[in-house]
Symmetry: D2
């Protein structure tokens, strides 16, 4: 931590800060500049929050942290990439894992036909909501346990492991019985009671980034899971809130690359929520694949215009197949020749 | 709902939409323009979500809602303002209620001295966190039940009703036993399991706006409480996330005025979280008072530089007294003369 | 500047930074912590940009500035508040100056009737656009010189000094001939060619904050004017872009208080653009007055529904009168008693 | 346009709107719903802005446009993609054109060595700033005409056409004499005087998206160029301002795909400004290539830590070569097998 004193800070104020830094268990190194004085708190065994509070002390301009606040999720602590095993499907091993399925589980027919179609097209995991977080209390809230039972049948019938959202601690047990991976939705990214509970389950967690969470806050949410005992975490970027209204959210693909740079955890992208427009899902999926994402999560519905939720951003089976085929196409074939010629 | 067809929509596509509008329980009114056709779904008994999903149908450009999605919180449903009674303190009756206290309850001495000081200066309710939502798992997480007990003692000893945050459904019961008002924090504004649970308690709720929640989403979160049976809701604007980094958040005071225009619920402002800078708390408090807010919630600590959380944005006793005095000063005395002269 | 080295920075990398700091004209103070090393560049005569570029050097985590980048606009350089004289009207002297008028000058009748009405209600300056920045090339672009002539007549006929927007260097001369204050619009806040040109005129400048400009960037734009020779600058907050769509922009009133804290320049607020909703203009005007703003700029039109631009956010004469009267009302009369009782 | 009346709008208010719609040159179609009435203005010859102003009329809730406001840039007007010829280099023909070079032209040696290196690695155009828009007046402002002369020499010596920024109308002529393509910087995207002037030059324009411009506003800025007579416009996404501070801006790659969907103009991406972090430039470049962008613009400097501007986000020659090679690598080779197997 660096404590940056105000220009007119008095000697007493500076001495007070030096005393408080020592009291907090750190050494104090002082740099007196032409305009102001800086106090650096050095050492590793002290109480960090006591330094942060010094921003409130007289004569202090600001307190600037110089180390990342997360530990267990960091590549500095664990340089090699983590691989998360979801009932036999490996995320983070260099492959590109596509998770697909309906926003909400609506019926056996809807779910089974979707499972069959997405598996045939190359998806490795099925998504489907049983408990739905909805902005309005008057919207469809999900089928609950009935949906969980259908999801379990999918796994048995089609050999597709399933991912479903958990909205609160009271649902953790029943979801663990039925699903292979538990999703923490964007709105719950900082539901710390839920995170603490999920740190104790033996299922992998898909942790979505909150719509206004910085990459640091997202990694710190994951830190709750790892610090609590669950190392099986996959991060998922699903778009942030910005002023742009043509897309439902702004899919921050740089955050996928950045989270993979700062952390060893696998990171996937959700172009369905990330854009909210069907036409943008295939190009953004290719973009995520190109920059090294560990996979995708995509909404697919047999008949989007009859979906009980998220219809406008759902692909039908044929569009999903087209998306999967586009992932097998080359990046930019003309560049191969260009760059070869240039480097000869 | 208006279904806006694409310019090149075919007659079949338009007819399909007309059929689907009727199937969803509405009448379809068609307007054929020079460039495109609009289908208006008219009536009140239909299934709204079926119309929304039509954004996914062929030939549809967009589906535009023309009515607000909230009902019970709306002034169209209840034009007269609601007054919420918090153990005898009335919020929403035209008065300006100041809620003050420490971010976290840290000790009996800290809490009691603060309670005494803020009461003396004019605060009507005490705030104090027992369960703290913290970005990092390594930060102080609150004293829990021990803090709740201290809060109850404050109420008895000082006659100050207390407000404290509830972070999950598992804590609702114990908090209801000790506190007079339950706060839903910004990060939990769309924790729908929690909202559904709090709809069933007989304590008033202070519902903070999420850092990336639109005013509509905030009102819909309140709608969960009212629709579930709890009409005693006070809204609290506490700043939204923007690109500006000089302030911790951007306090959106227009949302206070707007929420009071759209809803009958009382609305208070939180300049402590809303700005994150002590120097800005008094001017923003005066601004909130001037525009008609129903009150404030402000962080006060005996020694901000030793606070276990939110020190940089906490006022000490003397600064809080100064804030209260500034609320008793006139708006702009010189304008009284100016405007009188002008209108003579 | 503080150069924060990476955890694994080598001795050679650290030495390289020390050498480069000296080469840039500063002294280098080194602090070796338990995890990483910090190099502080100390002194005032060096080349700051050479330090900033060191963020690109091997082994460097980040370069953190510890001094504000602006000088002449700063209260550290000039603690006493500046007063800007606009043809005899003083902005910044503690009074609350209301600038009012139509978005665009449309006709003699429209302009004169508005001038008469706003003056009668207490406005001190008239605003009116001659050259209009419009998002679309197909929208009304202003009457140009014809409008300027009408504005000059207003000043003569009604004794109201006039403010009008300048969109480019080519229009500076003619506007200076006709207007008393030149407005730099939000979209041009970082039109540096224009700022450099306006630094050379002898008229005061109303500098609007850009819709995505931080307070620092805004003050640095003003610094261009002061550094170039024009000290007569009034800052104007007019709302920033955020995710909220119920209001046209988010009026960041904290930035008004903050700009007045960091700078000696007067600061006014524009609730018309800042909210885009007529109903919110009076409460936000009162809020601006309460926190100490130096004035307001408000759009007024004889018949908003016939305005060629910005009708939805314009007040008619009667609404403007109501606004002015509301500025003469007390802040919160009940608080006077409350606080007195509390402090007895 | 749809004029959405308030729930309690009176018959007189509705009739007034019907009259005004007709007066503005449109037909009025009325839909009376269970709760409110909608008036649709139909026809193509009317005065659109008169309808927009009706938002200010009594009884009106909102006025909702149902057609895109841009015309000439739209794919509805011109479905086939435009190809822009920059001194023989074609942008928009399906190839992926890389523009590279220093942020600022600093010296002959710096510029020539960079031109040689980027050409060898496969770049097709050189970028380099002669006039620099800088946030602070105390930062390096560019070498001006001296830089332009060096740029012209590059074109002659290395056969690389050059792109440089134009900051104001006064510089248009001299830049046209020296450069092959004129860049409008992000801060000037809505400098309408500049856009109107550039509509009259016979050089192609690279139009950067403003940091807070919506895709619609960006396309309308391009509309100024096309409507004024210059069809040779390449759009460039360079990141928008959001709450995320780990990256300098948030590169909105979905806007590249969306702009290509809505418009026939070519669209390139700027990952240097878009991220501000060297490590993120290669992955975001691959992402842009994968989603169909027409090219890139990238900052390259012989020694980024000595750059006079934008060092932290500049690549050195070796990193740029690596970037170019990465563009020639396959998208995700493992998906080829996966998807083939799936579709067998």
């Amino acid at each position: 931590m660096i404590i940056n004193m105000r220009e007119r800070a008095s000697d007493e104020q500076i001495q007070h800060i030096i005393d408080r830094v020592k009291e907090a268990g750190f050494q104090a190194h002082i740099t007196r500049g032409s305009e102001r004085t800086i106090v650096a708190a050095v050492g590793s065994g002290g109480r960090r929050h006591e330094l942060e509070a010094l921003a409130a002390a007289a004569g202090v301009e600001e307190v600037v942290p110089i180390a990342q606040p997360f530990k267990l999720v960091s590549r500095q602590v664990k340089p090699q990439r983590s691989v998360v095993d979801v009932a036999g499907v490996h995320i983070g091993d260099g492959s590109f894992v596509v998770i697909a399925g309906p926003c909400s589980v609506e019926s056996e027919e809807q779910l089974f036909s979707t499972a069959k179609a997405v598996k045939a097209a190359g998806a490795k995991l099925l998504r489907g909501g049983a408990y739905k977080p909805r902005t309005s209390p008057y919207e469809f809230q999900g089928l609950g346990v009935e949906a969980l039972k259908l999801l379990r049948q999918v796994r048995e019938k089609f050999g597709l492991p399933v991912v479903t959202e958990v909205m609160g601690t009271e649902d953790v047990e029943v979801i663990c019985e039925h699903a292979d991976m538990l999703q923490v939705g964007a709105r719950n990214m900082q539901n710390f009671n839920l995170l603490r509970r999920l740190a104790k389950v033996d299922k992998p967690i898909l942790l979505k980034r909150g719509p206004s969470a910085s990459v640091k806050e997202w990694l710190l949410a994951a830190e709750y899971l790892l610090a609590g005992g669950n190392p099986n975490v996959v991060l998922c970027e699903r778009g942030i809130k910005t002023f742009e209204t043509e897309t439902r959210n702004t899919l921050d693909l740089a955050s996928v690359a950045l989270a993979r740079e700062l952390s060893h955890l696998p990171v996937v992208a959700d172009p369905s929520h990330g854009t909210g427009r069907r036409s943008l899902i295939p190009p953004m999926s290719r973009a995520a694949a190109a920059l090294g994402a560990d996979g995708l999560i995509v909404e697919v519905h047999p008949c989007p215009e009859r979906a009980l939720s998220d219809g406008p951003q759902s692909l039908d089976f044929s569009a999903f197949e087209g998306l999967m085929r586009s992932l097998a196409e080359p990046l930019r074939p003309e560049m191969v020749k260009e760059v070869k010629m240039a480097t000869v």
